[in-house]
């Protein structure tokens, strides 16, 4: 047995005990992260009365079909204009809008900061980074005033635009661009590539996986928005899924079903992008 252990140690480079401890920690983390999701999925198959009497449920119930059917046929609002499909549409428009525009904007701003000779480049970069200290919530009142003066109240644009300035994206792309060897730019310059060609032919193809990661993160930010859409829209047509959860009631079977449905699109997105996502985060 002892010789087995030492053989194992020689191959794996760790003792069985330390491997076991590492696994225990990982499993604990996994349980911690997955438990709320399993709780929600299980609860979405119970009746509202079970949930209200007994709290959230760990085991599956028998009301799944009814709950999900109820969510799909759900109508609410002043003139029944809040529907699941409508909310899904709004959520997608906003999340994709935020994701696409954030990715493009932070990509271009980082490109300018790294590859162009700008005056006060360092200052501009740190100024952008400082905006991280001011999340959207801290500038609601001013931003509201700006949106009103632009006449954008009750539009998708009003929800999307203030969320675009994600300094994290700029930072992320900047760090990535800085790892590109400067000879690459010089070779491209000698090959007759100007700033646009260099962007299109060299930088973009080499940044796709990073851009995928930023896209996913920005999508989540857009998808999970709650407070700001509530402030800036009074129109029932602009309801998103996340806001809809409040409408339908949280401690109800259909409410739980809606939560599950709300989780799905970001989940599938992550599933699709996960290879790129992890690749770009691990570098």
């Amino acid at each position: 047995m002892a010789s087995h252990d030492s053989q194992y140690q020689a191959v794996v480079g760790k003792s069985r005990l330390s491997t076991a401890v590492a696994h225990a920690i990982l499993v604990a983390g996994l349980v911690f992260l997955l438990a709320p999701i399993l709780l929600i999925i299980a609860s979405s198959t119970h009746s509202t009365s079970t949930l209200q009497l007994g709290g959230l449920q760990w085991l599956p119930g028998d009301r799944a079909i009814e709950n999900y059917a109820r969510v799909i046929s759900f109508e609410a609002g002043f003139s029944d204009r809040i529907t699941p499909m409508g909310m899904l549409g709004n959520s997608l428009i906003i999340a994709i809008g935020v994701a696409v525009l954030t990715t493009v904007l932070s990509f271009l701003s980082a490109y300018a900061m790294v590859f162009f000779r700008l005056p006060c480049k360092g200052f501009v970069f740190w100024f952008v980074m400082v905006t991280l200290l001011f999340p959207l919530e801290s500038r609601f009142v001013n931003t509201f005033g700006v949106v009103v003066s632009l006449g954008l109240i009750n539009t998708h644009a009003a929800i999307v635009l203030p969320a675009l300035a994600v300094a994290l994206g700029t930072f992320f792309f900047r760090q990535h661009f800085l790892t590109m060897p400067k000879e690459l730019i010089e070779a491209a310059t000698l090959d007759g590539a100007g700033p646009f060609r260099f962007l299109k032919d060299i930088v973009v193809p080499l940044s796709i996986s990073k851009a995928g990661a930023i896209f996913v993160i920005a999508f989540m930010i857009g998808w999970n928005q709650f407070l700001w859409p509530m402030m800036i829209s009074t129109n029932d047509d602009l309801y998103t899924l996340v806001r809809g959860i409040g409408l339908i009631g949280q401690e109800s079977g259909p409410g739980m079903a809606l939560v599950v449905i709300t989780i799905l699109p970001p989940f599938f997105l992550l599933l699709i992008f996960q290879r790129w996502f992890y690749k770009s985060l691990s570098v």
């Binding site: 310059t189 090959d191 007759g192 590539a193 060299i202 080499l206």
Partner: protein, 358 residues
């Protein structure tokens, strides 16, 4: 076929550092010029100024009598091969080689013909569809050269292209570069810190030190007739033997050693005597008693390193000489040899200015 002319070219960085201080040079059409010097001497900066990757602070750079100081790198009609290859990692070999031509709006068929022709010349035609990360270092360097060749530039610029290769491959590629340059007859400027590379490749060699050309000429001319102490010690492998000395009108003396046969040297000035390792010979009436420290067997010849007994010492270290001899000479370690040299072949330098006196 193009000539390159540098007149009083200067590079001063914004922080005041002077990288290149007034370089004048004329590179003839089809000539292979090598810039050689220690790292930080400004040789790469000078090359990059010709390429247009560094601005020119002062002076003029001309290619075929056309002033190119303010011409963009792409319009200078030069092609450069980088040390780290700088291949586009996401493009195939074909893509890498054709990119510059595509940007110039050349028709696709013509590009293809050129790429295939260059690939054949470099023996990489089987790899055209591969990506750089599927190639070995040597193959990558060939692709980098292919990218330069297809452009049919007026001037080839090489920035230490072989430094990332292993020793054997380096020799192979060195010969190939020379062959290629002969065949294409394109004016070339090549930067290296490797003096063997410099000696073997160059039609003419420019030894650069602290931003200035120390001496320029055919490699063998620089070896035989170095103008300064710096050139003498930089060119030649193994390095030239140097001995601190003074002249008293009759003898050139160093410590207890008194060397005869020197005339017309400045008296009571610090001098340096230089003797190439292959100029030394074993001789009973020789001038230098040597204690053998190390014997290196290189195959066809042996290098014997040892201290010259009685010679003046720089700091605490004994003055070491290297003696190049045939493979059958294998003295015992710690044994003593007596070495002689031909006074006519010895070089004498001024210690402070480095200027050669004879």
């Amino acid at each position: 076929m193009s000539k390159v002319q540098l007149s009083n070219v200067t590079k001063t960085y914004p922080n005041g550092a002077e990288a290149v201080r007034g370089v004048d040079m004329e590179v003839e059409s089809g000539e292979f010029i090598v810039f050689v010097g220690p790292s930080g001497c400004g040789k790469s900066t000078l090359l990059r100024m010709v390429a247009g990757l560094e601005s020119v602070t002062d002076g003029q750079i001309q290619i075929d009598d056309r002033l190119i100081n303010d011409v963009s790198p792409a319009d200078r009609d030069v092609a450069m091969v980088f040390q780290n290859y700088a291949l586009y990692p996401h493009m195939t070999v074909h893509g890498n080689m054709s990119y510059g031509l595509k940007n110039r709006g050349m028709p696709k068929q013509e590009i293809n013909a050129k790429v295939v022709e260059a690939a054949k010349m470099l023996k990489i035609e089987d790899f055209l569809d591969r990506q750089p990360n599927q190639l070995s270092g040597g193959q990558r360097q060939r692709v980098a050269m292919g990218r330069a060749i297809v452009r049919e530039p007026k001037v080839f610029l090489f920035d230490e292209p072989l430094s990332n290769l292993d020793a054997k491959l380096r020799v192979q590629m060195r010969i190939e570069i020379k062959r290629l340059q002969r065949r294409m007859n394109v004016t070339s400027i090549y930067v290296t810190h490797d003096q063997t590379e410099a000696m073997t490749l160059a039609d003419r060699l420019a030894v650069i030190n602290e931003g200035k050309i120390e001496q320029m000429g055919a490699p063998i001319e620089l070896y035989n007739n170095p103008a300064t102490l710096f050139v003498a010690s930089f060119i030649g492998s193994p390095q030239i033997n140097l001995l601190p000395a003074m002249f008293d009108g009759q003898y050139l003396s160093s410590g207890d050693l008194k060397l005869e046969g020197f005339v017309d040297l400045p008296q009571s000035k610090e001098l340096v005597l230089g003797i190439r390792p292959d100029e030394l010979r074993l001789s009973d009436d020789g001038q230098f008693p040597m204690r053998v420290d190390i014997v290196e067997q290189h195959g066809s010849d042996n290098l014997i390193y040892g201290a010259i007994l009685g010679a003046e010492q720089e700091s605490d270290e004994e003055t070491e000489f290297c003696f190049k001899t045939s493979q059958d000479m294998l003295p015992e370690l710690e044994s003593n040899l007596t070495l002689g040299f031909d006074v006519d072949r010895a070089l004498v330098f001024h210690k402070d200015t480095g200027e050669r006196l004879r």
